[in-house]
C-alpha cells in the first residue's frame, strides 16, 4: 500500500473516531429505527406510489376520539397470493405502524395504532401479482403521541 493511501485511510478512521467521540455518529437509540425497519418503511412508501386501488376490507373509524388507540382492521383474505399487509399513517413522524408477513395465515389483521394528528391511513397489500392499497381518512380530535 502506498504512503498516500495509508495516510488517507488513517485520517478517515481518525475522523470517524472523533465524530463518534463527539456523539455525532451515536446510533439514535432514542428512535429505535433499525435499518431493517427503515428498509421496510421506504419500500412501503414506494409501493404506495405504484399500487392500484384494491378490493378488500379496511376498517378504521372516521373520527378517532383518542389518537392513542385507533382500531384498525384489514381483511384481504378474498385476495389470492397475499404476501404482506402494512399500515402506513401518512402524517405520523414515522409513518409505518407495522408490517405483517402472511406466511401460513389468513390475510386478516386487527390492531390499534397511535396517530399524532388527522391523517390518511393507507393499508398496503402486497401480493404475488402486485401491490394494492386502500386509503382511509381518520380525523383525530386528541393526538395520540402525548403532544
Amino acid at each position: 500500500m502506498n504512503r498516500r493511501l495509508f495516510l488517507q485511510r488513517s485520517i478517515a478512521i481518525t475522523s470517524i473516531a472523533t465524530a463518534v467521540g463527539a456523539g455525532l455518529l451515536m446510533p439514535i437509540k432514542a428512535f429505535a429505527n433499525t435499518s431493517e425497519f427503515k428498509k421496510i418503511s421506504d419500500k412501503a412508501k414506494e409501493q404506495i406510489s405504484n399500487a392500484k386501488e384494491g378490493d378488500f376490507i379496511f376498517k378504521a373509524p372516521e373520527i378517532a376520539e383518542n389518537g392513542a388507540m385507533v382500531p384498525i382492521t384489514i381483511d384481504a383474505s378474498n385476495m389470492p397470493g397475499v404476501k404482506s399487509i402494512a399500515i402506513y399513517v401518512r402524517k405520523n413522524k414515522t409513518p409505518l405502524s407495522a408490517h405483517f408477513e402472511i406466511l401460513e395465515a389468513s390475510a386478516a389483521i386487527t390492531t390499534r395504532i397511535k396517530m399524532a394528528e388527522t391523517s390518511i391511513i393507507t393499508a398496503v397489500i402486497e401480493t404475488v401479482s402486485g401491490d394494492f392499497i386502500k386509503n382511509k381518512s381518520v380525523k383525530v380530535t386528541l393526538g395520540g403521541c402525548g403532544g
Partner: protein, 101 residues
C-alpha cells in the same frame, strides 16, 4: 395485568388468535414534562406459530398503541398449538403458548 395473554378459538377451519401484551410502546419521540425525550421502548418484532410452523412474522413500529392488541386468523382446528413471541428494542422477549379451543 399479566405480561401477555393469548386466546385461540377455532371455528370452521379457522383459528382466531387474540393477543394482548402489557408494554409501554414508547416510540422514542415523546417528551416528558421536563422536555426530555423519553427513550424508545417498544416491541420491534413478533411471530406467530401453529404447531411450530411460522404463520405470521411482523415488524412493529413505535406507533402501535400502548398495551398492544393483535388479532390474527390462521387455518387450523381445535387442539392446534399456537405460540406467540415478541421482542422489543431493548432485547426483552415475551412468549406464550396455548392450545386452540
Amino acid at each position: 395485568m399479566k405480561k401477555i395473554k393469548l386466546k385461540a378459538k377455532s371455528r370452521s377451519g379457522l383459528i382466531t388468535v387474540r393477543v394482548l401484551i402489557k408494554h409501554p410502546m414508547e416510540s422514542g419521540s415523546r417528551k416528558n414534562k421536563s422536555g426530555q425525550l423519553i427513550p424508545a421502548n417498544h416491541i420491534t418484532n413478533l411471530s406467530l406459530k401453529k404447531n411450530n410452523r411460522l404463520a405470521i412474522k411482523a415488524t412493529i413500529g413505535g406507533t402501535i398503541s400502548e398495551n398492544p392488541f393483535f388479532q390474527f386468523k390462521i387455518p387450523g382446528i381445535k387442539g392446534d398449538e399456537i405460540s406467540f413471541e415478541s421482542i422489543d428494542n431493548l432485547g426483552k422477549t415475551l412468549q406464550i403458548t396455548k392450545i386452540s379451543k
